[in-house]
Amino acid sequence: MEILSQLILNGVMAGALYALMALGFNLIYGVTRFFNLAHGVLAAIGGYAFFTLSKMLGLNIYLSVATGVAIAGLAGYGFDRLVYSKLRKRKASNLVLLVASLGVFTTAQAALSIIFTSQFQTLSETAGQEALSVLGGVVTRTQVIIIFSSLASMLGLAALLNGTSFGKAVRAISDDEEVARMVGINTGRVTGYVFFIGSALAGLAGILVGFDTGIQPTMGMGLLLKGVIASIIGGVGNIYGGVLGAFLLGLVENLGIWMIPGEWKDAVSFLLLIVFLVFRPQGIIKR
């Protein structure tokens, strides 16, 4: 019984992280209609930006988180301006964009390895590791912070999309970019902002992973896949579906390793993806 509640707690925790990845991925997919595989490396960029500011330069932790998130956002914005927006202008197919994002991913990940070496770095020190007991399971304070910052980001994003004219513009572009442009929305600029927000969310996920376990340059691919799997099983392009998918994925993955060793988590989540693709390819909530 104790192990079960611990696994469920771990699942919720993982779900909160995957939800952050899925939110950004889905937001970007919604306006650009391509699978941005470079999304994962932005988590690594966020993590390393925080690492540099806080551990190497000794900056205040909150300031470092905010700056790290902003740096990840700016990196995503930069990738859009330098690569994707040019391809979109040329009406390149979504596969061309996907291959370009694979190139961006490879380059950025290798650049991180060159600058910071491939070594595993942990972000948290002893602080924040005292354990709390919840429903028979144990969570660290870091993990509580993860849950709350993830929920806060979800609510913030929902408020942004539903309550502001910017949100209206984003939804209009997601519905139909041509029409959105015709009614006078500057789609290029809005898409740029969406890249900033989505990438900043990935950066936050990267920093939180760093607090929970640690960072290394290759962390991006795993997080990307989790975010994309969450999006697909939740219903791709639907940001609420993505959140639902993320928590489902987190739970299934952690309950799936009840009887088998933990390193097969990724295989469990891939299996979940396959099951969805075979039986419900449109995801839980159809767009």
């Binding site: 690569v83 979504n94 990940q109 060159i114 896949l225």
Partner: protein
């Protein structure tokens, strides 16, 4: 001289990988991004069978082809119902999972330690262990792969693949079950990739999981996109250029660890620049 032989052998191995991947990506228009998984299954089959069971190299290659084709059949049965970005993503995910199998199934693969002591092939008392002989053997396999790929591409089966690429709905109307065709070419391509895997395991005398990451798949993809999709000649030339180009970094005097990462930077940028300025590559007749 040894160095030139070494590079020539690597070019040949990547040319085989490029040719096989081009059948799926170039001819059929499906962006398979997990080719290193099948390359790895071939390599591990040879490594395991030759070291622990003492099986002959050529028999181990046949087993590798069978194992790789079998794995491709299983995942392809799901994959072939999709196309476009879903196809790319699921094949990429498959690569990640196969990599984690190589890494975590200690009983079979020895995990991150890898399998050392993979022997060079010998046949009827002929020994291929010297560099020149191995190069000749690899060249024979490249020639076989090239002929097989050309045969597939020019057959009526190949014409169906091209029409799937151009308009899948239209060819379905003519009564072709496109799922079977997509599955068949995926399995064939995986079998060919296993040939390259067996060769590399025996050539380097060692396999470990780090050679079969997603990065490796991206590299093979870069080779065929640079050479040109749907061009077999392009795949060979793409392998030649992309294997040799990063070698310049070695002479620029970067330390080993950084040079390996610089190689990734080079071909990552290569992909981005190709997409921006010449998405059809050198000889491509098909643009993504």
């Amino acid at each position: 001289m040894d160095y030139i032989l070494h590079l020539a052998t690597l070019v040949i191995i990547y040319a085989i990988l490029g040719l096989s991947l081009n059948l799926v990506v170039g001819y059929t228009g499906l962006l398979a991004s997990g080719h290193a998984a099948f390359y790895g299954i071939g390599a591990y089959s040879t490594a395991i069978l030759t070291t622990s069971l003492g099986v002959n190299f050529f028999a181990s290659m046949a087993a590798g082809i069978a194992a790789s084709a079998g794995a491709a059949f299983l995942i392809g049965a799901v994959l072939s119902r999709f196309d476009g970005d879903y196809y790319a993503l699921v094949s990429l995910g498959f690569n990640v999972i196969i990599y984690s199998v190589f890494l975590n199934w200690h009983g079979l693969t020895r995990g991150p330690l890898g399998i050392p002591g993979v022997p060079r092939p010998a046949l009827f008392g002929m020994d291929f262990s010297s560099g020149v002989f191995f190069l000749a053997l690899a060249a024979c396999f490249l020639a076989l792969t090239f002929l097989a790929a050309r045969f597939v591409a020019r057959s009526s089966f190949g014409r169906v693949l091209k029409s799937i690429r151009e308009d899948e709905k239209a060819i379905q109307v003519f009564g072709y079950n496109t799922v079977y065709f997509k599955l068949a070419i995926f399995v064939i391509s995986a079998g060919m990739a296993a040939v390259a895997g067996s060769l590399v395991a025996s050539y380097i005398n060692f396999v470990d999981p780090s050679s079969f990451t997603v990065m490796e798949s991206v590299f093979i993809l870069a080779i065929i996109i640079f050479g040109g999709l749907s061009s077999l000649k392009g795949s060979v030339i793409g392998a030649l250029v992309l294997v040799l180009l990063p070698e310049a970094l070695r002479f620029a005097g970067f330390p080993q660890a950084i040079a390996a990462q610089m190689r990734h930077v080079v071909y990552g940028l290569f992909l981005v620049v190709l997409m921006l300025y010449r998405p059809q590559g050198l000889f491509g007749e098909f643009k993504l």
